[in-house]
């Protein structure tokens, strides 16, 4: 039923909006290209006779009728926004697989018991607007819609203003109560190397849960001074202190078997010069762990170690803000079993992977049975233009997900 060629070609067709010359994507949430691909998606699902509902956060639900009008739709969703230096698969694959499943049902004139809905969640990546996954998180009431619409990008532009500008602020309340789902299935590239580097490689795997993650904004204040005249031992150099912290944080993450990434580094708008000791350094930090309690301990250890380094370096930590937190999540046992069953039926020894990345499914899982299917990606690379999943693996992913969704629908 799944047309692998159609799925793959439609996926790359949809990447015309936001493509970068290096083969990657820059379709950060609610930029003009994101608006274009969203409009295109709406047209495509309308062609299939589906009903489109958009909520106040711009989440799009393309709903194909089911046999039983009393059931809430089974959502098949993910996101169309990308990192600024992103690839062609992260999120995009999940929405396009949802579209392919609707097309396949349409072609076969197949009606499930529950309505089936492709869902495009707004701003999953979080790179233009933090927190990440704000669309699904507002749907889950983790944040209010007011908070979500007020999130700003680096230029102070709000999500609400961008939704208005693109005519994408829908009439429906953004809420699992107003637009409930009876389940949520998400196919996503793994974004990690487990499937690609496994002894017995597999194109797909069931996901049992998602790591906890926290983002921090840190500002270090040293003392600006002359690079040529200030004795090395008298310096209060914010760059030196930040370098020490970055390396110590890395060490702590390894010790705790978690992950730490200092992905943002700059001088908080302060001018920089070869011959000036930099007085301020700004860091953006990402900490993760599969276990929420250990993540909490690891975060505390990071704070303690950085305070110690700051003290020794004569530098002050003038800001240490938690920008975002998304707790470790276990997916619904029953929904996961349907994914595992579909994997086995397709002949693939299933892996149980805990997702390193956060996903919209973390938030849907709070209000409906949720499960995910990972598709192998080359070298585990993601959030980079070289991100790649083969057309064959993508086809397998769609077949397995369709099987899981229909078996869940029949349960």
């Amino acid at each position: 039923k799944i047309d692998g060629e159609r799925l793959n070609s439609t996926l790359h067709h949809s990447c015309q909006w936001g493509a970068t010359p290096d083969g990657g994507m820059n379709r950060v949430a609610l930029n003009d290209d994101d608006a274009k691909v969203r409009r295109w998606l709406i047209q495509e699902v309308e062609k299939l006779g589906c009903t489109v509902k958009i909520d106040e956060m711009g989440n799009i639900f393309g709903i194909r009728e089911g046999k039983n009008p009393n059931l809430a739709p089974i959502g098949i969703g993910s996101h169309l926004d990308t990192q600024a230096t992103g690839g062609r698969y992260d999120g995009i694959l999940g929405v396009l697989t949802g579209l392919e499943i609707l097309r396949a049902c349409h072609d076969a004139n197949y009606k499930a018991n529950a309505p089936l809905a492709v869902v495009c969640w707004t701003n999953e990546e979080g790179c233009r607007f933090a927190p990440y996954a704000i669309g699904s998180a507002c749907w889950a009431h983790t944040y209010t819609t007011e908070f979500g619409q007020a999130c700003t990008d680096a230029d102070g532009i709000t999500i609400g203003a961008e939704l208005e500008r693109h005519g994408m602020k829908g009439e429906h309340k953004c809420s699992h109560e107003a637009l409930p789902l009876s389940a949520h299935f998400e196919v996503h590239i793994e974004q990690g190397p487990i499937l690609d580097y496994a002894e017995t490689p597999s194109p797909v795997a069931a996901v049992t849960g998602v790591q906890g993650l926290r983002w921090y904004d840190i500002v270090l204040q040293g003392v600006g001074a002359h690079a040529g005249t200030t004795p090395m031992e008298l310096r209060k150099d914010a760059v030196i202190a930040s370098a020490k912290m970055i390396l110590e944080i890395e060490k702590i993450a390894v010790d705790f078997k978690g992950k730490a990434t200092s992905g943002k580094i700059g001088s908080n708008g302060q001018p920089q010069a070869y011959n000036c000791i930099l007085n301020q350094v700004e860091l953006g930090l990402d900490l993760r762990h599969e276990d929420e309690e250990t993540l909490e301990k690891m975060s505390q250890e990071v704070v303690r170690a950085c305070q110690e380094i700051a003290k020794k370096s004569g530098v002050q930590i003038v800001k240490w803000d938690e920008k975002m937190r998304s707790e470790a999540m276990d997916f619904d046992k029953v929904a996961v079993e349907h994914i595992k069953g579909a994997c086995l039926r397709s002949g693939f020894k299933r892996f149980d992977i805990v997702s390193g990345a956060g996903h919209d499914s973390v938030y849907t899982a709070m209000h409906c049975p949720t499960a995910m299917l990972f598709v192998r990606c080359k070298d585990g690379l993601s959030h980079t233009p070289v991100e790649y999943s083969s057309p064959e693996d993508i086809e397998v992913g769609a077949k397995v997900l369709l099987d899981a969704v229909l078996s869940y629908d029949k349960k």
Copy 2:
């Protein structure tokens, strides 16, 4: 003869152009404020009946006639441009002391043997346009005027274009041959803590030479990847590699008894996100040593160590450009003796300081006897808004410099 109050109040008067709310200065070379203060300087020297000559690099020579029309002027110069996060003394003190000396001679109707010239050199700081001291360096023929005028700032604007815009591109050739000096004296704040922290503190000291310095632009290329899914041990993180290099470079500088500063850090225009391992890091590095040969060895050791770190971190050094080099310089023995004599006559035990900072005098020293006088500055801090020298010390500096200039003139 020196009017300390006039000197100090004129200095602060001239800081109205480019003053920042924190008490510091942002008068980077050839911005509008730099143009305003230069125009003001020209007016002030013209009021004293001096001749103003401007060369093609915008260097300003305000010349008071001497008794002997065959002698080239004795220059008393420095610069009026500041760092973007600069103070009110660095450079400014030298030019304003030159103006005060002309005013004092004018008041006393005193004519030296040689003409006396206050000189304002263009773009000494080098923070908007590298190399630093490009005005005096072109005068010395270290660079051609074409090269100097073509230097660009971060926005691609050239020195030549800015000189045109401000009407500051003079008619005189920028050359020690076209506008020769018979000597160059420069008073400057020390910018280091030797005078302020000495056991027997002194407001002034003779400078015997200047450290060698080199600036480097470095770009590290790692592999961008997902912060949540990429195992710590598989990362090729440009931030981690840069942190290791920054700390190793610091260690090498300490071992060589030199100085190293990583004052610029960023991602070379690449977007940054909490959840992306940064693929590129850009560093701006400043290396210094009093001894040119040791500086060369130290630079080589820095390169070697960074290559080793890059290799171990799986990161490539895709750029390692020497942006600028200014060799260690010993000042003219005779000119220095006149400074020392003037210090002693004023009752101050003289120190022989090797300047940590580069100065226009490094370049004038290549073509005329040159010497410098340092004035104490608080805690040795410079290139920061808190830079400070007391009115008393500033007055002493001007008196000692006038004494040195006149004794040199009489020799």
